[in-house]
């Protein structure tokens, strides 16, 4: 059971209950055994969540949800922190210097393993980094990561709503479809999508939404190369099912 799209307290829209500890505990209860925190243009809650996940016997993949200059959301994943951090530095540097106002967007809180508040991100994270989709994909690839367009069926921030269609030369191993829709409905409307593999993750901003939908993979290890194999149905790696509760 894999849920690779979870927002923590660091995302302005994420609930203040979404501490690394609460997220990992909730995943444990639900039996989700592979997770990722994907905050908007930020990673400062990643390491502590990975550490906690390991203590609970849950696998973790480093992640971040980037908002590109086309104002679309792309999930990015990495096997190690250095790669994630390299990409984040570029994304963050190109994020406009507009101060978050918590009254309108919510707090952006960095929390440690014991749920202590250790800092606040001052820059508004729910904004576009001045990086194009193409350039983002390039640096993600250079840093051994993968990129997955998020909630492609969504009316806002989705790749289809923002740029009309998925570029032919893109290297996305999967497309994420939100919990509310089924891939068949989308393919009926846009037949070119049938050549893609779909995944669904919860996009949880609240504790009770974690695992609202999730993807079941057949993998040997919880790593990027394994996910890439599953995207091509290689060596018995595959997507078994998408579950929507």
């Amino acid at each position: 059971m894999t849920d690779l799209h979870i927002h923590s307290t660091l995302s302005p829209c994420g609930s203040l209950e979404m501490s690394p500890k609460r997220i990992v505990e909730r995943a444990k209860i639900l039996g989700i055994n592979l997770i990722s925190i994907t905050d908007h243009n930020a990673i400062q809650n990643s390491e502590q969540t990975k550490n906690l996940a390991e203590k609970y016997g849950i696998s973790y993949i480093y992640g971040m949800e980037v908002q590109t200059e086309e104002e679309l959301h792309v999930l990015t994943y990495f096997d190690n922190y250095t790669d994630l951090s390299n990409v984040w530095k570029t994304v963050y540097e190109k994020l406009p210097n507009i101060k978050n106002n918590p009254d309108y967007f919510g707090d952006q809180v960095i929390v440690d393993e014991e749920e202590n508040i250790v800092g606040f991100e001052e820059k508004l994270l729910l904004n576009s980094s001045k990086i194009s989709l193409e350039d983002l994909c390039k640096i993600v690839q250079e840093n051994n990561g993968i990129a997955i367009p998020a909630h492609i069926d969504s009316a806002a921030y989705g790749i289809i709503s923002q740029i009309g269609f998925i570029p032919h030369d893109s290297f996305f191993p999967f497309l994420e479809i939100s919990c509310e829709h089924k891939e068949k409905e989308l393919i009926d409307k846009l037949s070119y999508l049938k050549s893609y593999k779909f995944v669904s993750f919860s996009d949880a901003h609240y504790i009770n939404k974690i695992g609202k939908c999730y993807t079941v993979f057949e993998l040997e290890l919880p790593t990027i190369p394994e996910l890439l194999m599953a995207s091509k149905d290689l060596n018995k790696r595959k997507i078994i099912d998408i579950i929507r509760s």
Binding site: Q67, E71, P96, N101, Y104, F105, N127, S128, A155, A156
Partner: protein, 113 residues
């Protein structure tokens, strides 16, 4: 020009009310990040974007009124705009036409000042 006069001149539908301020600027864009970067305060924002975040962006940038062109407005957006006391206005015209009319109104006013 006062917002109430612009509403009359463009025949806009009022979904939420704010203060009736004098408007000197307007901005047209559907990308929230561009609006965050460039819109001026006490202005009118013309857009087809109906995501609820438009209200937060308008609040942060102190935009007085949002005109949504061409389409319906979701209930949750109206509710949020009322809470924030931001003018939320609907136009049956497209953004080009609505922007053109407002541009002309604001230009004419500058000439007469």
């Amino acid at each position: 020009m006062l917002i109430k006069n612009i509403i009359k001149l463009l025949n806009l539908k009022v979904y939420s009310e704010g203060k009736d301020l004098n408007i000197e600027n307007a901005y047209t864009s559907d990308l929230l990040s561009i609006v965050l970067a460039n819109a001026k305060r006490n202005s009118i924002w013309i857009t087809v974007q109906k995501h609820i975040n438009i209200v937060a962006v308008a609040s942060l940038k102190e935009i007085s009124a949002i005109i949504i062109t061409e389409d319906y407005i979701p209930e949750e957006v109206i509710k949020k705009a009322k809470e924030e006391k931001i003018w939320l206005l609907g136009s049956k015209e497209d953004s080009f036409t609505a922007s053109g009319k407002i541009f002309k109104i604001l230009q004419d006013e500058k000439i007469h000042d």
